[in-house]
Subunit: 335 residues, 2 copies
C-alpha cells in the first residue's frame, strides 16, 4: 500500500496517545509519523510498542508534507491550526466537535457510512463518542427495521473528559474531599447527569450531539432521540441503555443474527460490562429484550472503549479507508 | 401519642441500622425497642445517637408483646419468622419482596397511598427501592396528567445489596483484582446492567419489581414500564433517568410548582447528584425537560438515599401513619 506522512495533533492527550497506539497496532502504512502538541509538551518522549517518539511543537512548518493529520485537540485549538493544515494539503480527520455539523464535512462511522469519506473537502469529522456507541449498536436494527425513535441513557467514562478527567477520578478516589475541577461535581462515588453545558431547554451539549449527529450519520432528519447523558466513575469505557422504536416489526432472532455478523460488533449475552472492554475495538451488545405488546420496540445495552472505537480507532479507520480507496486528497477525486 | 413496642428484625444489616437511626431521629414513640438478628449477631452492641443497644437473637419469645416489627431480612428469613410475628399480633412492616405482590398486603409509599395502610391483615410491604424512587419523583406528574408509559434507566448504589455490597465496593476500590462475590461482575470502576436474576425474557428481578409494584401502588394495571436497572459504584444513593408519557398534555411550569409543594420532594435545578443526598430523606428531582414536539412526554432525573427513603424511612413513615391513625392492630379497624 502507498505510504503516507501522518501527524497526530494533540499527541500527549488521552485520545492522541491512543491514536499512536492504534496506528502502530494496526500497522498503518506511514512513512513519517509526527507527534505534535502545544509548546509545553514539546520535547516530551512517548514510548509505544517498544518505539520512542519525541513530541514536537505544532508549528506551521510541522504540517508541511503531511498527508493526514489526526486531530485530537479541542474546538478552539483545531480552529487555530486549521489554516496551516489547509495550506499543507493534508486531510484532517478531526475528533473535536468544531466541524461535525458543517454540511461540507462528512461525519463518519466507517461501518455505517464509509462512502461519505469520498466527499470530503479536506476535513472529515469523527463523531461524538456516545453517538458512535449508540449508532454502532443500533446499525443492524436500523438496517433491518428502520429506527424511528430512540430513548438513550448513557453511563459515560471519565476518559471522555480526557487525561485530566481520568486524573481527577483517580485523585478523588484517594481523597474524596478534593474539590472538582474538570467535572461539575465530585465524580468518585457519584454519577453526574451533565456532560457539557445545558442550553435554555435544559438539554446538555452531549445530548444535543447525540441527536444531531445521529440524524446526520443515518441521513434521517426525522429521527427522534431523547437522551440523558450521565458521567459515571468508570475509567475509559462508555455504556448505554437504549430503547428503540422502529418502522417495521422486529424479529429478535434475526436481529441477533445480524449483530453476530456485523463488523465491529460483538453480541455478548446476557450482557457486557464496560470494564471488560477496556482496550478493545469492539462495540459489545447485550440484554436485547422485547415486550410482546410492543413488536416495534426493543431494549438493549451496549459498551465500548471510549478512547478506542469512540475516538482513536474510528479516526484511524477513516484514514485507512481514505488511503485504500484513493480518497485522500480532494483533488484526486475530481481528476 | 400512644407508646408502642417496636422490634427491628435484621438490626445489624445496612437497612436495620438505618431503621434504628431513623426511629431515634424522628423520635418515634416507642416504649421498648428490640434489636433482633440471627444467632451470630446476638450480643453485638450498636451505638446510635449516644444510646447503646444490645442485639438479641430473634427467638420466638422476643416477638411477644411487640406492636410493630420492622422487617429488614431477606425473603426466606422473613418467611421463617412470620409465624412467630403473627402469633405476637404485631404489625409487620416488611422490607423484603416476599409479600409485596400478595393482594392482601398493602404496598405503601405514604406520600402516595397511605390510605392503603388501613387495609392490612398484619403485614404491610415496603416497596422496592427503585420503585419508591421512580414513583416519588413521578407522583406529581401522575396526579396532574396521568402516567401512561414509563422508560426508566437506573443508576443504583451498592447499598441495595446490603452491607456486604458496600464492603465489596470498598475492598475492590483498594484491590481491583478482588473477585466479585456479592455482584455478578466487579463493581469498582464498572457498571453492571443486572440486579437480581434474569428471567426467560431477559428481564431482571429488579426490572420486574419496578413494573409490577408501580402498577400496584398507583392502582394502574395498564401502566407500561420499560426499564434497565444498573448497578453503579455509588455507596448508598440511587438515581434514575426517566421518560414519562402521560394521558394529558404537560404544563412544565405547573408541574415544577407541584413538585416544589409536594411532601418528601425537592425540586433541585439544574439537577441533584446522588452523593449530595446521602443521609437525606428527600427525593430530589431535576433536569425536567420537554421536547415541544411531544407535549405528553417529559424527561427527568431523580436521586435519593436508598437506605433512608428507599427502605428505612419509608418503613418508619408507614409505622407512624399506622400509629397515628389507630390502624396498628387489624382488629381495631373492624371494631
Amino acid at each position: 500500500m502507498q505510504q503516507v506522512n501522518v501527524a497526530i495533533l494533540g499527541a500527549t492527550g488521552a485520545v492522541g496517545r491512543t491514536m499512536l497506539e492504534v496506528l502502530l497496532q494496526r500497522r498503518f502504512p506511514f512513512r513519517q509519523l509526527r507527534l505534535l502538541a502545544s509548546e509545553k509538551s514539546a520535547g516530551q518522549r512517548l514510548e509505544c510498542h517498544g518505539r520512542q517518539f519525541v513530541v514536537k511543537k505544532a508549528d506551521r512548518d510541522q504540517f508541511e508534507g503531511m498527508d493526514i493529520v489526526l486531530g485530537a485537540v479541542d474546538n478552539s485549538w483545531i480552529r487555530h491550526y486549521l489554516p496551516w493544515i489547509r495550506q499543507s494539503g493534508a486531510l484532517l480527520i478531526d475528533n473535536s466537535s468544531a466541524f461535525r455539523m458543517d454540511p461540507h464535512v462528512p461525519l463518519v462511522i466507517p461501518e455505517i457510512n464509509a462512502a461519505q469519506i469520498a466527499f470530503h473537502h479536506g476535513i472529515i469529522a469523527n463523531p461524538n463518542c456516545a453517538t458512535i456507541l449508540a449508532l454502532m449498536a443500533l446499525w443492524p436494527l436500523h438496517c433491518l427495521y428502520g429506527c424511528r425513535r430512540l430513548w438513550v441513557s448513557t453511563y459515560q467514562a471519565v476518559s471522555g473528559a480526557g487525561k485530566r478527567g481520568m486524573e481527577e477520578l483517580t485523585r478523588q478516589l484517594q481523597d474524596p474531599r478534593m474539590a472538582p475541577e474538570v467535572f461539575p461535581r465530585p465524580i468518585a462515588g457519584n454519577v453526574i447527569p451533565q456532560i457539557g453545558a445545558l442550553n435554555e431547554m435544559g438539554i446538555s451539549e452531549e445530548e444535543q450531539k447525540l441527536q444531531r449527529e445521529g440524524r446526520k450519520i443515518l441521513d434521517l432528519p426525522s429521527l427522534q432521540v431523547s437522551c440523558t447523558c450521565v458521567r459515571v466513575p468508570v475509567v475509559r469505557c462508555h455504556s448505554a441503555a437504549i430503547v428503540a422504536q422502529t418502522e417495521k416489526q422486529i424479529d429478535l432472532e434475526a436481529l441477533m443474527d445480524r449483530i453476530r455478523h456485523s463488523p465491529g460488533l460483538r453480541l455478548q449475552l446476557p450482557y457486557p460490562t464496560p470494564l471488560e472492554y477496556s482496550g478493545s475495538d469492539l462495540t459489545a451488545v447485550g440484554r436485547l429484550r422485547m415486550d410482546p405488546r410492543f413488536p416495534d420496540e426493543i431494549q438493549l445495552w451496549c459498551c465500548f472503549d471510549q478512547l478506542r472505537k469512540g475516538a482513536a480507532t474510528n479516526a484511524v479507520q477513516i484514514a485507512e479507508w481514505a488511503l485504500e480507496q484513493g480518497w485522500l486528497r480532494k483533488e484526486r477525486r475530481t481528476s
